[in-house]
């Protein structure tokens, strides 16, 4: 009886969550748009040279961004997974920091870096080019690959690699022929998330790409918000969703692999060589360190010199804002906790269904819960506004709507870290436990849970960071003034002239980064204890 109830909840909770907060709103808004001229637009799209250009650019920039991110992040993933060094946990936590940075801040920082490197004009110009977009995408998404692949890699049995080396394979051969294939589920999982993020990237494209560059995402926004043409926006939103479905379908196919032998006890990794550390940190420093350094420097710049004034100002309310920046941070923190709790619950249950459920159900879950990550913030925001307006779902002015929207984007992160790990739990381990007399419940508690917990905290860290930094969907939802979030406050501070406001915005961005770093670190300390349980 309890088993049936548990199964019902495992399926029911994710279905209810996705159905009410994503599918129903999105179907509502798409239906509205299609009946309002969207169908004609949809039919006309293939014939439009502008659309073909935009669609092609959207796809290739996302693909190239993803490949670049994976290539840049893999050495780092190896470092955190297979090497021991002081500050390893810190590095892993720090990598999530870019995730919370509002694009308006990062855009400004990148432009400043390009300027200082002399690349804002001339023959090596990066400003307002597609290169700037690609670099910023690597900056934002590095953590996804580093952490998702890193955590998986850490649990991989190093035996096959050692055997390959003993048999005379070079390190490069070993990596390409042994390690890479074994990493495939995790790399595919991370890459599909990065791809979706880049496919729907908004601020980076507009700010760093400049006014000459457009993607499907920016076009949806332009048509709906600026031109008031919901029909054209709907046609584009449909195309976007279909593209996302295709990408996720292929990505999920690549991840479906079993029994590569994840273990619960991680062997003591060798100490990292200094050159390996230096090369990795140098690469990460170049991509992630420079823009962050610019931000930090600016946050201390005040009154013509360096001081803590901008940080002190965070506790004082400026006339433009309903709250102090610190209070806005507290709001964001609370929203992020709620969003993470929802994302972990929904994503955790859905992952169990994906791994242990019936085949058809498993595929549908695996696909469906990824979709919110690839849907436009415009689609989700407007959809919620027109769908969730009747009791008992009159949630438009509810304080829960913002965390719910954030959780929608957090669930895919939880699932993409958890599913490959659950799939790879060594069946021999479970069989051995069963032979020794452990009941299925005990197997789940003593074998599955400790291994899954390791992946779950990685996913939870992402869900938390995503919520802390979320701007797009939040801005579409009605909020009372005292529910101001930190990214919205930051945007407002940067929207009025005056160095004082700008300095405060930079300090707020830095505090946001520090909070994220520490929160992820705190979440990850649980990871160690869970692993040591066995």
């Amino acid at each position: 009886m309890t088993g049936r109830l548990a199964r019902f909840l495992c399926v029911g909770i994710p279905v209810a969550f996705l159905g009410l907060f994503f599918i129903y709103p999105v179907v509502s808004i798409l239906g509205f748009g299609l009946s309002g001229g969207g169908l004609e637009h949809l039919v006309g799209l293939p014939g439009s040279a502008t659309f073909r250009g935009v669609a092609w650019f959207t796809l290739w920039q996302a693909a190239v961004s993803t490949v670049l991110t994976v290539v840049v992040a893999l050495p780092g993933a190896h470092l955190v997974a297979r090497r021991r060094f002081a500050g390893r946990r810190l590095l892993r936590a720090l990598a999530t920091v870019p995730f919370v940075l509002p694009t308006v801040v990062v855009g400004g920082a990148f432009l400043a870096v390009f300027d200082r490197l002399g690349m804002s004009d001339g023959s090596f110009r990066l400003t307002h080019t597609v290169w700037a977009v690609l670099i910023a995408h690597v900056f934002f998404n590095l953590a996804v690959v580093l952490r998702t692949v890193g955590s998986y890699w850490e649990g991989l049995d190093p035996g096959p690699e050692e055997q390959a080396r003993v048999l005379g394979a070079s390190p490069a051969q070993t990596f390409v022929m042994v390690t890479l294939p074994r990493l495939r589920p995790a790399v595919a999982a991370a890459a599909s998330i990065v791809f979706l993020f880049c496919l729907t990237s908004f601020g980076v494209v507009l700010l760093l790409g400049g006014p000459g560059i457009a993607t499907i995402e920016t076009e949806i926004w332009r048509h709906s918000v600026w031109r008031g043409d919901f029909g054209a926006a709907t046609a584009l939103a449909l195309v976007q969703l279909v593209a996302v479905l295709a990408v996720v379908g292929v990505g999920n196919g690549l991840q479906r692999r079993r029994a590569v032998g994840l273990r619960t006890v991680v062997a003591r990794a060798p100490v990292a060589g200094w050159w390996e550390l230096a090369a990795n940190l140098g690469l990460l420093g170049l991509v992630m360190g420079l823009p962050v350094a610019v931000l930090v420097e600016r946050s201390f710049l005040s009154g013509g010199g360096y001081s803590l004034d901008n940080y002190r100002a965070l506790a004082v309310r400026v006339d433009l804002l309903p709250l102090t920046a610190l209070e806005a941070l507290v709001n964001s923190f609370v929203f992020a906790l709620a969003a993470t709790a929802m994302a972990v619950t929904v994503g955790g249950l859905a992952s169990l269904v994906v791994v242990h459920g019936q085949r058809a159900l498993s595929r549908v879950f695996d696909l469906g819960l990824m979709l919110p990550l690839g849907a436009s913030a415009v689609t989700i925001g407007f959809g919620m506004l027109i769908a969730l307006d009747q009791p008992p779902l009159d949630l438009r002015s509810s304080r829960w709507l913002v965390p719910v929207a954030h959780a929608l984007i957090g669930v895919p992160f939880v699932m993409r870290t958890l599913v490959p790990t659950l799939r790879s739990i060594d069946w021999r381990l479970r069989e051995a436990a069963a032979v020794l007399g452990a009941s299925p419940g005990v197997v789940r508690r003593r074998i599955d849970f400790p291994i899954a917990a390791r992946a779950l905290v990685v996913g939870a860290g992402f869900a938390f960071a995503v919520s802390l930094g979320e701007f797009g969907a939040t801005s579409f939802l009605p909020r009372q003034p005292d529910r101001l979030t930190a990214p919205l406050a930051l945007f407002r501070l940067l929207g009025t002239p005056g160095q004082q406001l700008r300095g405060q915005a930079m300090a707020l961005a830095v505090v946001l980064m520090v909070i994220t770093g520490f929160s992820v670190l705190a979440i990850e300390t649980r990871r160690g204890s869970a692993g040591a349980d066995l």
Binding site: G108, V225, W226, D229, L320, D389, S475, Q480, P481
Partner: protein, 362 residues
Amino acid sequence: MRFLHQTTTPAALFVLAAVFVGACGAGNGSSTVPISATTGVQAISGQTVTLVTHDSFWVSEGTLREFTAESGVEVEVQRLGDTGQLVASAILTSGDPLGDVLYGVDNTFLQRALDADLFTPYESPALTGVPASLILDPGHRVTPIDFGDVCVNYWIDAFDDDLPEPSGLADLVDPAYSGMLAVQNPETSSPGMAFLLATIAEYGDGWEEYWSALRHNDVSVTTGWEDAYYGEFIAGGGDRPIVVSYASSPPAEVIYADPPVDSPPTAVLTDTCFRQVEFAGILAGTENRAASEALVDFLLSPTFQEDIPLNMFVFPALEAATLPDEFVDFVKLPDNPHVLDPAMIEANRNDWTERWTDLVLR
């Protein structure tokens, strides 16, 4: 709860209004006086009105409480996105509006909102204190609450006797000012749109030629205000001394200066300004008509109007409203700002921006 609310409120209103009218004696020819004046405070006291507005809306802590103290009406503020997002959301939810009063639609989006029948007419008695030039809807479906001018700003120290600051739009295409101007894309930025409208108001059909000349003179185009002002303009460390911003930017440069300054480092070219007017309107479908009217009246009261400048950096619509010192000392408002009919803007904006994109970006 909802059911109760829907049925009892109009009934209670009716009874109270009847009592009130009976007590004062009917038929004194006051049929044009707004409902809020005839029903009195008792009728609406205890109600809550929802004010839907954009994310830039904010007034001092006590201001809305004063309204509650006077009228007994509670105000719930719901903020949402920027002006474009706000108007689009209001249109999408017009069947079941997000609130009772919407504040924040401007003259560049006004016609779109009117075409969607978002508002129900209300002529506030307080409009007598507002200049006629701000009252853009003769049917009073919307009420002007504030205005702000989008103007070309320049960095004062970048100009001297050898090269004086430009005097107006015409100078900006002069080769002497080549590579100095930063503007925003009108398809992604509200000040960018306003500046395009200023050039159309000034040059009529000649605006395309003007923009070709601006492009030839190396104008820099950014996506939004932030990257123009902080990225390209000298104020943020850029190298361009001329930027499209607001008439209220110079006082902000003093109020939020760091280190403190006595006068702004920037100034405004008053001949380049386009006037943006922001309106409030009672959303069609409201169940709190009388309380909504009272709120619109309050938005035009000196209490609210005088609180606008330092919180939102725009100007009060009420002529008699006292301005803060910084706005008196450091703002030069144009005598004749550029204006365009909202209906003309809505009918042409998509064509204009497409032409503009071809001319300036392609």
